[in-house]
């Protein structure tokens, strides 16, 4: 699996997205992260493991409460990937636009001849 695969797979779950959203506001402990959800701590830990494996979060070792922290770089990579597609399609659609014109003017010419 590439980093992108890992990122998109990790992002494919609403609970994990909500966890990232919470972490974007600052560090949080596992208990704090579990609060808004109707999920057990082990269930939350499972989600955290997926996020950790994808490199989207890190968990501190130093403090007693082992705070989780958002790592922005892989998310940026995913956003860049989408942006790359935006350019790809915008340019293609410019070509489609001219192509549609070309076809129609050819058809009109043919129509006049008949």
């Amino acid at each position: 699996m590439t980093q992108l695969d890992l990122t998109f797979a990790a992002l494919s779950d609403p609970t994990r997205r909500a966890i990232l959203s919470r972490l974007s506001k600052g560090e949080a402990s596992v208990t704090q992260l579990a609060e808004p959800f109707d999920l057990s701590l082990p269930a939350i830990s499972k989600h955290l493991k997926v996020l950790q494996k994808a490199g989207l979060i890190t968990q501190g070792r130093e403090a007693q409460w082992r705070p989780c922290r958002l790592e922005a770089r892989p998310l940026k990579q995913a956003a860049d990937w989408i942006d790359h597609y935006r350019k790809y399609w915008e340019e293609s659609f410019d070509k489609l636009d001219s192509y549609l014109h070309e076809i129609q003017s050819k058809e009109r010419k043919r129509g006049r001849k008949n």
Binding site: S24, E90, Q104
Partner: protein, 157 residues
């Protein structure tokens, strides 16, 4: 030059790309441009790219494939499967980059093309996303948007 209205955005909740455009052409023609492999060869790649190969079976679960040649001569294979075909208004297909043996090399995404007739013009709504399942898109979108706002801050910090 044609009247061109275009907007593009990345919707944060689903990491989805959305592009809206209005083409000065009837809907049937735009539909053909999206579904006829020969017509796709002409336009469906960025500037400077050529498409020597384009084929597809326009049926549900039918495959499509194309080979693109980049301006520097490098060949790129891509392809996918048709998921929904509602002529002439809605086309849904998967989209993947592939290696020389047609094995996927990228996460697959889902493209949805919706065409709406406006007189002799056609409004197109193009979406690319589907890096996740439909049901997982429920709720949390607000939080996700917030997350991206914060991400931007983080990245620019």
């Amino acid at each position: 030059m044609a009247e061109k209205t275009s907007t593009a955005q990345t919707t944060a909740d689903a990491l989805e790309l959305v592009i809206n455009r209005t083409f000065n052409a009837p809907r049937d023609l735009v539909w053909r441009a999206w579904t006829d492999p020969e017509m796709l060869k002409v336009w469906s790649a960025p500037r400077g790219f050529t498409i020597p190969r384009s084929e597809g079976e326009l049926r549900i679960n039918g495959p499509w494939r194309a080979t693109m040649v980049k301006p520097d001569g490098e060949e790129l294979n891509l392809g996918g499967t048709y998921l929904e075909i509602v002529e002439p208004e809605r086309l849904v297909f998967t989209h993947m980059w592939m290696d020389e043996n047609w094995n996927p090399t990228s996460p697959y995404s889902v493209c949805t093309v919706t065409l709406t007739a406006r007189g002799n013009k056609t409004e197109m709504n193009f979406r690319q996303g589907g890096f996740e399942s439909e049901e997982s898109r429920d709720g949390h979108s607000e939080g996700w948007i917030e997350c991206f706002d914060k991400l931007e801050e983080l990245l620019s910090a």
